[in-house]
């Protein structure tokens, strides 16, 4: 039965004088063909890329020499959360933009867990900052247009995965405005001071 039966039912009477040719079986063994079929399937299954890579879209702030510094929007101190990325997946963050030299911001630091890809402390901080901004909007201290703004400043010792982690956290917590900014010397000093204050870490 592993064959294809193409012989006709037979029994057709041929007319007189028509010689009966010897009937050869037209059955073909299909087993090798099936083998070949599955071999090719296996090959295509291994080489195929079913799932396309996923991407994350980022928009960098538009930069041009034509735009004068005074025309640029300035982030309000009250809506800003600055996050500094440092070495060994250490993250420092503070509220505000840290531009007031007389009042240095209070830096808090957390460790980003690379294995589980999570940093619960930072997430909490972002969520609380979000609700703070929402409260201020309620009280009328901020206009409706103001949104929480996260400033991401990766230090030269940080890695790309830290940056992606932070960008991802923005998506997770639904933060609409964020920017990747070059770290300043002032911020580096903040990190240094915090490191010195906590030598154990």
């Amino acid at each position: 039965m592993a064959e294809l039966d193409t012989s006709s039912g037979g029994g057709h009477k041929k007319g007189p004088g028509v010689k009966k040719g010897k009937k050869l079986s037209t059955r073909i063994d299909l087993t090798p063909m099936v083998d070949l079929g599955f071999l090719l399937i296996t090959f295509f299954m291994y080489t195929t890329t079913m799932q396309k890579p996923k991407t994350m879209e980022i928009n960098m702030p538009y930069k041009d020499d034509i735009i004068k510094p005074e025309d640029q929007n300035k982030v309000k101190n009250s809506v800003a959360l600055t996050v500094l990325l440092s070495k060994n997946h250490r993250i420092y963050y503070y509220e505000g933009i840290g531009d007031d030299p007389t009042k240095p911001p209070e830096l808090k630091s957390t460790q980003y867990d690379t294995k589980n890809n999570v940093d619960a402390e930072l997430r909490k901080e972002i969520i609380s900052k979000k609700s703070k901004v929402a409260d201020m909007k309620h009280r009328g201290e901020l206009t409706a247009k103001d949104e929480i703004t996260v400033l991401i400043k990766p230090d030269s010792t940080s890695s790309y995965s830290d940056l992606v982690y932070l960008l991802d956290e923005m998506i997770i917590n639904d933060v609409k405005t964020y920017a990747i900014i070059d770290i300043t010397e002032v911020d580096r000093d903040f990190i240094k001071a915090t490191e010195e204050a906590n030598p154990g870490k």
């Binding site: 039965m1 063909m33 399937i41 195929t48 996923k54 879209e57 890695s159 997770i172």
Partner: protein, 219 residues
Amino acid sequence: MGHAKLPRKSTNIDMTAMCDVAFLLLTFFMLATKFKPDEPVVVKTPKSVSEIIIPDADIMLITVDPTGKIFFSIDNKLKRKELIDELSSQKSLNLSEAEKTAFALGSSMGYPFSQLKSFLGATPDEQKAMEEKATGIPADTAINIPTNELGVWIDIARHTNPKLRICIKADGAVSFPNFQKVIKTLEGEKVFKFNLITDLEAVPMGTDAYIAKYGKGTK
């Protein structure tokens, strides 16, 4: 004493149906397949919850390996040919027609202009051997200096195909200064919108993105 006679059944099975299934599946895979592109380096991208799918065509792919070497490629053979033609004349590399064809059919490029001719002139086997020692395309944070060759590649590629979407595929271990070279170069080329290729991970429960996706009521 009568032995119960078991009727002898034929052990032959009709393969026709199985054959049909096999070839149906084969046809499906053949049509659905898209061969994995040759990648010069192994890159393990970081994870993200973002679900934007990479577009099918018109992609410029900038690959950065863990040590910070930069590789560049665009899709579409014809555009690659145009790109190398333009590059050859702009930088007077004197590439032969065969070398240009080698580029058009090849994959990612990770050589400075000075080594381009010797790489493209080599046989496929030699190229394989050279790939391991690829130095990457030189880049810098400043755009208007001659050593920023990545800028030249991007500039010409965008002229040959203005629809290009720019994707960066970088390893998680790439240090930020190396990654910054790429984004600063892109900024210098007035590209402010690009995609980072990431691995998919699940949205953490209870967060805003989770609520937006699945609603509050679900467990």
